[in-house]
C-alpha cells in the first residue's frame, strides 16, 4: 500500500463487515438458548443497539481526529508512553481474536467435514492463505472483500430462508411477553463477541478517498449483520427448538445441514453452504493481521504502508495462539466470558476515553 492508496466507501463497509461478522456465527444461538430463552430476539436487538453505538462512536472518533489512524490518534491524545500501554494489549487482544476464530474454524471443519485431518493442518492452510492474500496489498484485499463477502451474505441468507420452510417451533421463535426476569440482558452480555472486531473503523476510515456519508457506510455492515443474526437465530430456534439448540456446539450449522436438495449434484446443499464460512475466515484473519501490522508500524514510528513487513511474524503468532485453548469447551468459555467485554472496552471504551481526553485537551480536529 502506498501513501496514495485509497479505498471507496463500499470497500470500507465490506472490510468492516469482514472484520467482525463471522466469529461465532454458527454457535451463538447456543449461548442465547440457556440464558435468554424466548427473549433471544431482545438480546439480539440490544446487541444491535450496542453495535450501532460502537460503530457510530468509532466513526466519530476517527473523524474527530482528522485522518489519523487509531494508534496515531492514541499517541496524539495521551502521548507515546501511555499510548503504548494502551496499544500493545489491544494488538495482542485482536491477534488473539483472530486466533480464536482460526481455532473455531479448525474445530468446525474437523467436526463436520474433515474428521481425520489434524486441526493444525487446517489452521496452517488458512494462515498461508491469509499471508498470501494480505501480502497482495491493501487495495487488492479490499477489492477481493467486495467480490466475496457480500456473496457470502446473500448465499447464507438464502440458504437459511430455505431452511426456514422447516420451521415448526414457532413457540421458540416468538419473543416471550413475559419479560421477568429480564434474561435477555445476560444473554446479550454472552454474545457481545459478535460485535467486537470493529477496530477496523479507526484504521480504515482515514483511508477512504471520497468520504461523503461515513455514518451511513459504517452503519450498513452492522445492519446487514443484524439481519443475518436475526435470520440465523429465528431459523435455528424455529427448526431445532429452544433446549436442543443449547445442547449443540454449532446449532446454526446443524440447522443449515438439515437442508437437502435431492436432485442436485451436491445433495447436502446446506452443508456445502455452511462451508462457505471459509471465505469469511480469511477475511476476518486478514483484517486482524492488517490492523495489527498497521498498529505496530505506528508504534515503531514507521509508515503504516509497511504493515506487510510484520505479516509473517504476526501470522506465526496467531497460529501458536490458536493452539492454546485445550478443547472446544475452553474455547467456548473464552468467547462467552471475557472476550466480549474486553473487545467492547478496547473498541468503544478506548474511543470514548480518548474522545473525552481529546475534548478536554482540545486535541481533536473535527472533520466533516
Amino acid at each position: 500500500m502506498n501513501q496514495k492508496e485509497r479505498i471507496t466507501e463500499l470497500q470500507l463497509a465490506v472490510l468492516i463487515a469482514a472484520g467482525f461478522v463471522e466469529l461465532g456465527l454458527y454457535s451463538f444461538p447456543r449461548d442465547l438458548s440457556g440464558i435468554s430463552g424466548r427473549q433471544h430476539l431482545f438480546s439480539l436487538g440490544l446487541l444491535l443497539v450496542i453495535g450501532l453505538a460502537t460503530v457510530w462512536v468509532l466513526a466519530y472518533f476517527s473523524l474527530y481526529f482528522g485522518g489519523r489512524s487509531a494508534v496515531e490518534a492514541i499517541f496524539h491524545v495521551v502521548g507515546r508512553p501511555l499510548g503504548l500501554v494502551m496499544t500493545i494489549p489491544a494488538i495482542a487482544f485482536h491477534l488473539f481474536l483472530g486466533a480464536v476464530c482460526l481455532r473455531y474454524f479448525a474445530d468446525f471443519t474437523n467436526t463436520f467435514f474433515l474428521p481425520k485431518t489434524p486441526p493444525e493442518a487446517i489452521m496452517l492452510l488458512i494462515i498461508l492463505a491469509v499471508i498470501f492474500v494480505v501480502g497482495q496489498g491493501f487495495a487488492a484485499g479490499a477489492r477481493l472483500a467486495v467480490a466475496m463477502v457480500p456473496a457470502f451474505f446473500v448465499l447464507v441468507l438464502v440458504a437459511y430462508l430455505l431452511v426456514g420452510s422447516k420451521i415448526t417451533e414457532w413457540g421458540a421463535v416468538f419473543p416471550s411477553t413475559d419479560l421477568w426476569p429480564p434474561n435477555f440482558l445476560a444473554g446479550t452480555s454472552r454474545i457481545i463477541y459478535l460485535v467486537v472486531g470493529l477496530e477496523t473503523i479507526p484504521f480504515f476510515l482515514p483511508l477512504v478517498g471520497k468520504l461523503n456519508r461515513p455514518y451511513l457506510w459504517v452503519t450498513l455492515p452492522m445492519v446487514a449483520n443484524g439481519v443475518l443474526l436475526l435470520v440465523i437465530s429465528v431459523v435455528t430456534f424455529g427448526v431445532l427448538g429452544l433446549e436442543p439448540t443449547g445442547l449443540l456446539q454449532y446449532p446454526g450449522a446443524t440447522a443449515l445441514r438439515t437442508l437437502r436438495m435431492p436432485g442436485l449434484l451436491v445433495e447436502r446443499t446446506g452443508a456445502l453452504i455452511a462451508l462457505a464460512w471459509t471465505v469469511l475466515k480469511v477475511g476476518y484473519l486478514g483484517v486482524r493481521v492488517t490492523t495489527s501490522g498497521m498498529a505496530i508500524c505506528t508504534c515503531f514510528g514507521m509508515s503504516v504502508s509497511r504493515y506487510r513487513s510484520f505479516l509473517l511474524p504476526l501470522a506465526v503468532i496467531v497460529f501458536y495462539m490458536a493452539r492454546w485453548p485445550a478443547d472446544t469447551e475452553e474455547l467456548e468459555h473464552l468467547l462467552t466470558s471475557w472476550i466480549g467485554t474486553a473487545g467492547l472496552v478496547m473498541n468503544l471504551g478506548y474511543a470514548l476515553f480518548l474522545l473525552l481526553i481529546g475534548w478536554a485537551r482540545g486535541k481533536g480536529v473535527r472533520s466533516t
Partner: protein, 521 residues
C-alpha cells in the same frame, strides 16, 4: 513507413558530406556485403548530376521507381545541377510519386530506410539523401481470422504488414482524432510498432505510459507483438494475460472506441490492447452481432465454461475421494461401481487423462489441418475408449475430462485459457488434501491474486471489483445497445458518453395511410 514516427535505436549518425564515393563506400562496407543489396549508378539526365540508387532486391516496386522517380528526376537534371546542395529538396517537390519521401543527411538513417524496403537516392554533391517509400514485397492477402471466428461479423483479419493493418483500422474508425504513433523496437530487427488511440477520448496517462514502456525496451529482435506483452505488463510473473490480443480489426475498432490504446507491430497479425481486464478476454465481436438475448446467452455459456474448466476436476476429486457424503447416494454408488478394480487413485486418473488430452491437443495443433483433425478424433475416441476398456481409467473420468476440455474451448482467447488450465492444478492439489474446503481456500487465494493484478493501473477484476454498477451491463450479460450509453468507467476515458439516450417506443408508421395516399396519387 515514415509517417509521424519516432525512430528508436537509430544509433549514432554518420553525416553524409555529399560525396557519392563516401556513400558508396559506406553502403558497400555494410549492407553491401549481402547479395540482395543493389546499387545503380545513374546520371539524372544528359546534363544532370551523377546519382546512385540503393535498394534491396525484392522489396521495392521497380516499375514505380522507374516511372515515378527516375523519369521525373531525369527531367529535372539540369535544374538540379544549378543548385546541387538543394538537389534533394528540389527532387522532393517535383516527384509525382504518391510514395512517402523523406530527406536525411545521416547515412545510418538512410541505411535503415533501405533495410525498411525504401529506396535511397543519393545525388552527388548534395549533402542530403532521399528515401522513397516505393515498397513492394510479397505479402499475404487479407484472410479470415484463424483464432477468433465470427458467425455474423466481418471476415477480415490482420496480416503481417503494419500499413495494411492500420488501413483496416482506419476504415472502421474515421475519426480525425485517431492517432498513430510509430516507433521502431529491436536493435537488429528494427520492427515498426504503432501505438493507436483516439485523442480526446483515451486517457493520455495510459498513452504516455505505453510509449514510455515501449521506449525502454532494449532487445535485439522483435518478431511478434506478443513479445512486447511481457515487457509492457504491470505484473510480468503472473500467468494471467494483462493485454488482450486479437487479429480482428473490428475488435480493435471496438477497443479504440472504448478508450483503449492498441498496439500493432509489423510482421505480426495480432494486436495488443491496453488496459485489459479479465472480463475483456471473454468478450468477442459476436456478442455485439447478435441481439442482447442471444449475446447474453452466449456470455453465460462462456461463464459456465469457465467455471467447469477451473473447478470440475477439483470438484470431482473432492466429491469422490474426500467428501463423498455430499453426493446423492445413487451417484455415490455409481461412482463406486465405476471405480471398482481401477488401479489408480482419482488424482492419478486426473493427471493421466489431462496429460493425454494436452498431448492430443498439441499434436493436433502442430500437424497439417486434415491430419490434425483426424488425430484429434482418433486420439480422443480410440485412446479414451481403449484406456477405459483396459481398466485404467473410469468412464466417469473420461466424461469429466472431455467436458472440461470442451468447456475450456468456450474461452475466446487462448492466453487466458492457459492461465485457468494452470490454476486448476492448484485447486486439484488442494482438493486432494482438503476436499471442498481446499477448493474454497484455493478460490480465495486465486481471486486474491487476481484482485492484486492491474493492467496499466486498472484493477484486473474491474468492473466487479472494484464494483461499478453501471459497467456491469456488458459483462456476463450484455444489455441492449441503447442501455450501454457510457464507456467503461475503469478505463477513465476523457469522453464518457458513448451514445445519446434513445426514446422508446419508436413511432409506429402509418402503413395503411401512406399506402392509401400513394394509390390516390
Amino acid at each position: 513507413m515514415t509517417e509521424g514516427g519516432d525512430l528508436v535505436g537509430a544509433g549514432a549518425g554518420a553525416e553524409y558530406s555529399g560525396d557519392l564515393a563516401q556513400a558508396r563506400q559506406f553502403f558497400q562496407g555494410r549492407i553491401g556485403q549481402s547479395s540482395d543489396f543493389r546499387y545503380r549508378n545513374i546520371r539524372l539526365g544528359p546534363k544532370g548530376p551523377a546519382a546512385m540508387l540503393v535498394y534491396l532486391e525484392g522489396m521495392i516496386d521497380g516499375t514505380a521507381v522507374d516511372e515515378q522517380i527516375l523519369q521525373p528526376a531525369m527531367q529535372n537534371g539540369p535544374a538540379l545541377v544549378q543548385d546541387l546542395p538543394n538537389a534533394a529538396r528540389t527532387l522532393e517537390q517535383s516527384l509525382t510519386s504518391r510514395a512517402a519521401v523523406r530527406r536525411t543527411s545521416d547515412l545510418r538513417k538512410a541505411e535503415r530506410g533501405v533495410l525498411d524496403a525504401q529506396t535511397c537516392l543519393i545525388v552527388d554533391g548534395c549533402p542530403e539523401l532521399l528515401l522513397l517509400g516505393v515498397q513492394k514485397f510479397p505479402q499475404r492477402a487479407i484472410e479470415k481470422p484463424s483464432t477468433e471466428h465470427s458467425v455474423r461479423g466481418s471476415r477480415e483479419a490482420f496480416t503481417e504488414v503494419l500499413m495494411t493493418n492500420l488501413t483496416l483500422v482506419r476504415r472502421r474508425v474515421k475519426d480525425p482524432n485517431l492517432r498513430v504513433k510509430a516507433l521502431q523496437v529491436g536493435s537488429r530487427s528494427q520492427t515498426w510498432v504503432a501505438v493507436c488511440y483516439i485523442e480526446k477520448l483515451t486517457n493520455p496517462a495510459v498513452v504516455e505510459e505505453v510509449l514510455r514502456r515501449l521506449k525502454r525496451i532494449r532487445i535485439d529482435g522483435l518478431q511478434g507483438v506478443q513479445t512486447l506483452e511481457e515487457f509492457l505488463v504491470d505484473h510480468p510473473s503472473t500467468p494471467f494475460p494483462l493485454l488482450r490480443s486479437t487479429e480482428r480489426p473490428d475488435e480493435v475498432a471496438r477497443q479504440l472506441l472504448s478508450g483503449k490504446v492498441v498496439i500493432l507491430a509489423d510482421n505480426s497479425p495480432f494486436s495488443l490492447s491496453a488496459p485489459s481486464v479479465l472480463l475483456d478476454f471473454y468478450q468477442t465481436m459476436d456478442d455485439y452481432h447478435f441481439g442482447f438475448w442471444g449475446a447474453s446467452m452466449i456470455r453465460l455459456v462462456r461463464f459456465i465454461g469457465w467455471l467447469l474448466t477451473l473447478y470440475l476436476p477439483a470438484v470431482y476429486i473432492a466429491l469422490i475421494a474426500v467428501n463423498p457424503e455430499m453426493l446423492p447416494h445413487k451417484l455415490a454408488l455409481t461412482v463406486a461401481a465405476a471405480r471398482e478394480g481401477l488401479p489408480f487413485p482419482p488424482i492419478m486418473e486426473v493427471l493421466v487423462i489431462e496429460v493425454l488430452l494436452e498431448l492430443i491437443r498439441e499434436a493436433a495443433l502442430r500437424l497439417p489441418q486434415p491430419l490434425g483433425t483426424t488425430i484429434g478424433v482418433v486420439g480422443g475416441i480410440v485412446v479414451g475408449e481403449a484406456i477405459v476398456s483396459a481398466g485404467l481409467i473410469s468412464p466417469l473420468m473420461i466424461i469429466f475430462a472431455a467436458t472440461t476440455m470442451l468447456a475450456s474451448f468456450t474461452s475466446p482467447t487462448l492466453d487466458v485459457n492457459f492461465a485457468w488450465r494452470l490454476m486448476k492444478w492448484l485447486l486439484i492439489a488442494l482438493a486432494q488434501v482438503f476436499g471442498l474446503m481446499g477448493i474454497i481456500v484455493g478460490s480465495v487465494v486465486l481471486f486474491g491474486h487476481l484482485a492484486a493484478l492491474t493492467s496499466f493501473g486498472v484493477p484486473y477484476l474491474a468492473p466487479v471489483a472494484p464494483l461499478t454498477k453501471e459497467d456491469l451491463g456488458d459483462t456476463i450479460v450484455r444489455l441492449p445497445y441503447w442501455a450501454l450509453r457510457f464507456r467503461p468507467r475503469h478505463l477513465r476515458p476523457l469522453d464518457r458518453r458513448r451514445a445519446a439516450a434513445y426514446d422508446h417506443p419508436v413511432q409506429t408508421p402509418d402503413l395503411e395511410g401512406a399506402q392509401r395516399e400513394g394509390e390516390e396519387r
